[in-house]
Symmetry: C2
Amino acid sequence: MMNCYVIMVAGGKGLRMGGEVPKQFLPIEGRPVLMRSIDVFVQAMPDIRIVLVLPDEQHAYWQQLCREYHFDTPVQIASGGDTRFHSVSNGLALVPNGETDALVGVHDGVRPFVSTETITACYHRAAVDGAVVPVIPVVETVRRLLPGGGSRTEDRAQFRLVQTPQVFRASLLKAAYRQPYVPTFTDDASVVEAFGHPVALERGNPENIKLTQPADLKLAHGLLTR
Amino acid sequence: MMNCYVIMVAGGKGLRMGGEVPKQFLPIEGRPVLMRSIDVFVQAMPDIRIVLVLPDEQHAYWQQLCREYHFDTPVQIASGGDTRFHSVSNGLALVPNGETDALVGVHDGVRPFVSTETITACYHRAAVDGAVVPVIPVVETVRRLLPGGGSRTEDRAQFRLVQTPQVFRASLLKAAYRQPYVPTFTDDASVVEAFGHPVALERGNPENIKLTQPADLKLAHGLLTR
């Protein structure tokens, strides 16, 4: 198979968790979230090349954590940007330009519960379709806020919730990321879509939650201890 | 305050959990899900009147569980229907017609992590606005499936995910439930909305998850043990 990369984005300042330590570094059952996220990719694809995007001021802390946890998976480090778009751009710069048939996934560092099945399914599909995201159905009823106040029920069967890894052919992703940034770029699929390439959907795993709020950490402990 | 009721809907046959015991009866940290859901309402509103809607074939099992766990909260039992609409209708029949200013909440029995704050906020707001549902923002990127295949990114800021309890003035809810059933009635708010009454939104609590899949039970244990 062609070379496969994952750009692991961990830009969180951790403000929403209420603590001092950014959420990507918080330990769940004795191992930091970010290491767990990397572990799953290595388990799914042992030859994967890992690019970790971290805010500059966190690089030293990460190195310290690596020593502390004897974490020796080879990881290239890139600098976090002001937005997710800029962070991914910085990570993408570490993927060599010559490898046009390489596959590049982008994964939220705070999603340690992605399954190896989701990862391999997305990379395999990307080799065929060029662009793929894992999605899950919406369990809750969905309401749309209306201009001028009020809201109305929408048909939830029409919607999917998007997770990561979002996986792309390297040449496509690089070309898409040369577009000027606009705020509607909320994820990598929206960047590739704006570039004119359709995005295929692959089945995600429901427990692949994004750890963004204090309650999520409790959920995370539950996923690991049972 | 006027009389307050909650119709606790527990119609699940539990097929999706893969086990024999319907999910509303599964113990989390030693106490069945459904008892935990009822506990929170009693804690939030000690005088609340509880109507529990259960499939007929589960009534004896519930009574047995009540003895086993020494659960003595007064609960009126109604028969589950073929759809959620019919289950709620059956529960609503146990709310006296004369109490036009009573408030009636409808709650998923498999949402034991609703907070007392969410409950009291919804009942207070319903006393003013007549119809209210608790909602949370969407954390994930949202995609809409398009007719003929494909999908596109939507602006997630325009959407809210709806939880329970959904709370209404009794007279309004009863009138709305006299409409003939249509499949677009996915929750109580959609029934009341079809009747022509707007639905107010109140802030829900993110950990108020609906336990529908095996992974959800793991999450549930995490929420309780930390």
